[in-house]
Subunit: 144 residues, 2 copies
Amino acid sequence: MKEKDIFIRFLSDRGLRMTNQRGLILDAFLGTERHVSPEELYGLVRRKDGTIGQATVYRTLKLLTEAGLAREVDFGDGVLRYEHSYGHEHHDHMICERCHRHIEVVDERIEELQERLAKKYGFVLTGHRMYLYGICSECRRRKA
Amino acid sequence: MKEKDIFIRFLSDRGLRMTNQRGLILDAFLGTERHVSPEELYGLVRRKDGTIGQATVYRTLKLLTEAGLAREVDFGDGVLRYEHSYGHEHHDHMICERCHRHIEVVDERIEELQERLAKKYGFVLTGHRMYLYGICSECRRRKA
DNA sequence: ATGACTGCAAATGTTTTGCAGGTTT
DNA sequence: AAACCTGCAAAACATTTGCAGTCAT
C-alpha cells in the first residue's frame, strides 16, 4: 500500500506522527471511490472507532491534501468533497443534476485552449476548475 | 432604466412589491461592475440608508437572481458573489491568485468542445462553471 | 520533559429563518 | 383584513480553533 507510506513519509518530514486515527481515516478515504465529504468520511470512520472526533477528520483531510493524496473538490453545494489524488490524473467533472451521478472527464483540447486563452490575457495558469452540469442519459430516459 | 422595469415586472408577476429597500439594493448592484458579495453590497447600500438590514440584502439578491438580473458566482473562497446578468452574455472567469483581479472570458471553441464532451457521455448540458486560476502579467512583473 | 495528537466544546463566518411590528392594497 | 416587507436577533450550516488531557519519543 503505497499511499500509506507516502503519508508516513510526509508526516515525518514535518515532524508529525502517524497515529491510529490518521491511519483509520486514510484507510476509509482510500476505501471509497466516491467524492466524500468530511461528514461522510466521519460516518465511515466512526463505524471502526466510535470515539473519533470530527475535528480529527477535518484535520486529517487537510493533511492528506497537503501530502498530495487527496484533492479538494467543490461542486458548489456548500460542502467540500475530497477525491483521490495519488495516481489520479487531473480531470474535470460532469454532474447529473437529477441523480447527482458524476463522471470524471478530461479533454486535452479543452486544456490546451485554456492555456491559450490564459496566455492571450497574460496569465500563467496555476490551475482550473471546470464543472459541467447536465442531465445524464438514464435520467432523460426515465423521465422524458 | 430597463433593469428596474424588469424587476418590477418580475415582482408583480409573483404578487410581490417593489419597495424602497429593493430599489436601493438594485441601484447599488447595478452601480458597481465588480463581483459583489452580499456583505460588500450591504456596505454600499448602508451608505444610502443606514437602517437597512443585511437579511434584506440577502433576500433581494436571491430575488434578483430569480428575476434574471443577477447571477451567482462562486470563486470557491467561501463567499458568494453576484454579477450582472441582464445584457451580459455567458462567460467564464480567470482569476489572479495574487491580486485577486479577475477577467471575464469566453472561448467559443471551448464551449463547443464542452458540448461535444457531454454528448460523448450521453449528457445534455444545462450549464457549466469554469474558473481559470493563475498569475496575471502585472503580478509576475512586480515579483518575478 | 517536550512536543505532538485527540476529543470536546466553543468559536467562526456566511447565509437563512422566525418573529413582531410596519406597510401596502 | 390579508398579504407582503422589514430589521433584528437567533438559528443553521460547514469548518476551524482553543484547550486540557493523553501519548509518543
